[in-house]
Symmetry: C2
Subunit: 203 residues, 2 copies
């Protein structure tokens, strides 16, 4: 995993979070409103112009290209552009993976209208994104690794709403870390997943 060091201390990291998280949450809310609005066309056009003007202000100074993986000198992750977990990426729910000493990794998240596939259900590919990310984070708790194979079994539709993803390392075989996991709603498992993650030869 290649990353760059963001040379900031904990106080500066907290300051930046306090600035960027509210901006990203406002954009996330706008995504939802853009899907669900029923206001008149004139308002839609006016709002479009306002958003374009706001975007131009943000683009007055910006990085070239994508955000990339970043860490602080003490190892805190600042990968805020990441589509699954990034605090500055309004596409990200964001997923926050937690873990317990017994090796369980999990994330709880609430998905609204912006993640829909079939009516009222989470898009199957979003279920795949969540499980790829949570299983990948679980594999990385053993060693840096990339997804080799991911197999998803869809037991039933996953309703929009509050969900929980869980994963554990099942076993390791040479350079392979095999991780299993599930996505569930309040009524139980909706998707089962198995991932084979590969450690690079250099690790």
């Amino acid at each position: 995993m290649q990353y760059v060091i963001e040379d900031i201390d904990a106080a500066e990291l907290a300051r930046r979070r306090a600035i960027y998280v509210p901006l990203t949450e406002a954009v996330r809310d706008l995504i939802d409103a853009t899907i669900r609005t029923e206001v008149d066309d004139t308002v839609i056009t006016q709002v479009r112009d306002e958003i374009a003007a706001a975007t131009a202000k943000l683009r007055a100074e910006q990085i070239v290209g994508s955000y990339g993986l970043r860490k602080t000198p003490v190892g805190d992750s600042v990968s805020w552009g990441n589509v699954a977990v990034g605090l500055r990426n309004a596409i990200a729910p964001p997923i926050m993976v937690e873990s317990s000493p017994d090796g369980l990794h999990w994330a709880e998240l609430t998905l609204g209208a912006a993640y829909e596939g079939p009516t009222g259900l989470v898009h199957g590919g979003i279920g795949a994104l969540i499980l790829d990310h949570v299983l990948g984070a679980t594999a990385k708790s053993v060693a840096p690794s990339f997804t080799g194979t991911l197999t998803l079994r869809y037991r039933r539709g996953t309703p929009l709403g509050t969900l929980r993803a869980e994963a554990r390392v099942d076993r390791t075989e040479g350079r392979k870390v095999i991780v299993t996991g599930t996505l569930s709603d309040a009524d139980g498992v909706t998707i089962e997943a198995e991932g084979i993650f590969i450690r690079p030869e250099t690790s």
Copy 2:
């Protein structure tokens, strides 16, 4: 597949596209700028307030819940909330699946900073979302069906930029439609996929 009929003709559909596509594109552009901006904190806070105000205008009238599957009386899809293909969903690249008479289904799309996982690369879960959607659309060309199993083999990282997804029906076995496909960049295949899609018993 349950859907509702949006009782509009082709002219009204075109009129709505002309209003909503520019709004969604403006929001998509804002998502990218939110990740990449380096402007001062005061500007960030000001933009956040402007976005919140614009969102409030959109929310003055809105549907309850999610957008759902919709079609016009002549069968045009109006599933504009869908996270993969929705014209009103700023998360969607959007994917536009095309097909040829020989059974090939494909989509070309360009992914920027908002879809990043590892530095400079598309998140593996976004590759999964794209392939789930394109393989699913391919299966639906045979019969209405839901994803049963999806297997993804990651050959190498998928660079951000212009990509092409392709899929074909491999075979059918009873209620199962087996579809294979790939995601590729200019240098060739990055992810291979196989999906088993299940026709409901009633179809």
